[in-house]
């Protein structure tokens, strides 16, 4: 058994294929906010006004920064790996919506989680999961401290929940500006993301 499986007492894990079949069969309640994270079905916490506002602002800012040829998704599923289908708050993927009518995108150029109560999990578990999948640019919009945490350079780390973590972490204050890896000409004021 690898490290992940020793979690808690051991619950039944689901593959992404099983998860998608459960959705097709209508097993879940309508509107249930669920993510498949490393085989575990996780329930998202209900979002407050600040959380929702931050998602809208971030999506708008990233749309402007990336421009044509990119598609900004909010809380849409990502086919990350065989046992993960997270729904990050904002994800920027190449192309347009029609390209993903048959299968979810799997490798966003930029992935953003807006974190309030979920800050610890977004940093540690989601960060490790996204690093394992090789997502190059992961942002945690930290509403608690009103900063943007930027994670880059996935690297193996046996101590991390999924065996990987981001080697680089930079923290940007509200007054700073940030440039996405995949949109090198853009410069986004962090204040445009914060609620």
């Amino acid at each position: 058994m690898h490290a992940m499986a020793s979690y808690e007492t051991g619950t039944r894990r689901f593959s992404r294929a099983e998860y998608e079949r459960l959705i097709d069969l209508g097993v879940f309640q309508p509107g249930e906010a669920i993510e498949l994270i490393g085989g575990e079905l996780m329930v998202a916490e209900p979002q407050g006004a600040a959380h929702y506002t931050a998602i809208q602002k971030t999506a708008k800012a990233l749309e402007a920064a990336f421009g044509p040829g990119w598609h900004v998704r909010t809380q849409g599923p990502i086919g990350l790996d065989d046992d993960s289908e997270p729904e990050p708050d904002v994800a920027v993927v190449p192309g347009g919506p029609d390209e993903y009518s048959r299968a979810h995108p799997s490798r966003p150029a930029l992935t953003v989680e807006v974190a309030e109560s979920s800050l610890g999990a977004d940093r540690l578990r989601k960060g490790s999961l996204y690093a394992r999948a090789g997502l190059p640019d992961y942002w945690v919009l930290n509403l608690v401290d009103r900063v943007l945490e930027v994670y880059r350079e996935p690297a193996p780390d046996a101590a991390a929940p999924f065996g990987w973590r981001y080697a680089r972490r930079e923290v940007f204050e509200a007054t700073a500006r940030v440039t996405p890896l995949a949109a090198p000409g853009a410069s986004i004021p962090v204040s445009h993301l914060l609620p």
Binding site: T11, V27, E40, L41, M42
Partner: protein, 193 residues
């Protein structure tokens, strides 16, 4: 508990659990039980575990006698999101009384635990206490003792606070009398593999 309660894990209702079985996600041979909405993986059935289950079943069958039956590793219903399969439980009546639905309130539940000891004392004890199971025993294969859990109580407000107020640990030389079979006496040595 090392990992906090993990409130984020999605909980399954019994009805959903049954749909998982209907759709073939789980089958009856899967070592899974639904406890408090979680699909828990059961302890592997190594030989000492299996032997202890058989010894316990035999001993409690004799102790309870007529008017009761003993089921092993079969489902019971505790609440809307718990359908565990305890190693041994003693149920009033006869098997035919439960053709339409699983038993809900065994007079005695026994779990045999080695690697699952933490689970048996923690999450399982909480679920059984919450269902007001009056007599819950753990055959602890690690220390070769019997842990007798009685007096379900909730000292705090949360569901997870449920537990047993009276816990006795009995060595192989001791004898135990089930609450619902007051004239019986079982030697703990009879239960140990």
């Amino acid at each position: 508990m090392k990992q906090a309660e993990r409130p984020g894990l999605r909980r399954w209702s019994r009805r959903e659990y049954e749909r998982l079985i209907d759709h073939g996600f789980l089958d009856e041979d899967d070592p899974i039980e639904l406890l408090d909405g979680l699909l828990l993986v059961k302890e592997p059935q190594h030989s000492p575990h299996r032997t202890a289950v058989l010894l316990v079943a035999k001993a409690v069958e004799r102790a309870f006698g007529e008017g009761w039956f003993v089921q092993t590793q079969s489902p019971i219903i505790l609440d809307d999101r718990s359908e565990p399969e305890p190693d041994v439980c003693v149920v009033r009546g006869s098997p035919r009384d439960y053709v339409a639905t699983h038993p809900t309130r065994p007079a005695l539940i026994v779990e045999v635990a080695q690697s699952g000891l933490h689970l048996a004392r923690g999450r399982k004890a909480a679920a059984y206490a919450r269902a007001r199971i009056a007599d819950y025993w753990i055959v602890n294969l690690v220390d070769r003792v019997l842990e007798v859990h009685r007096e379900p109580a909730r000292p705090g407000p949360a569901r997870r606070h449920w537990g047993y107020a009276a816990i006795d640990t009995l060595g192989a030389d001791a004898t135990i009398t089930p609450l619902a079979a007051p004239s019986a006496a079982i030697r703990v040595a009879e239960l140990l593999p």
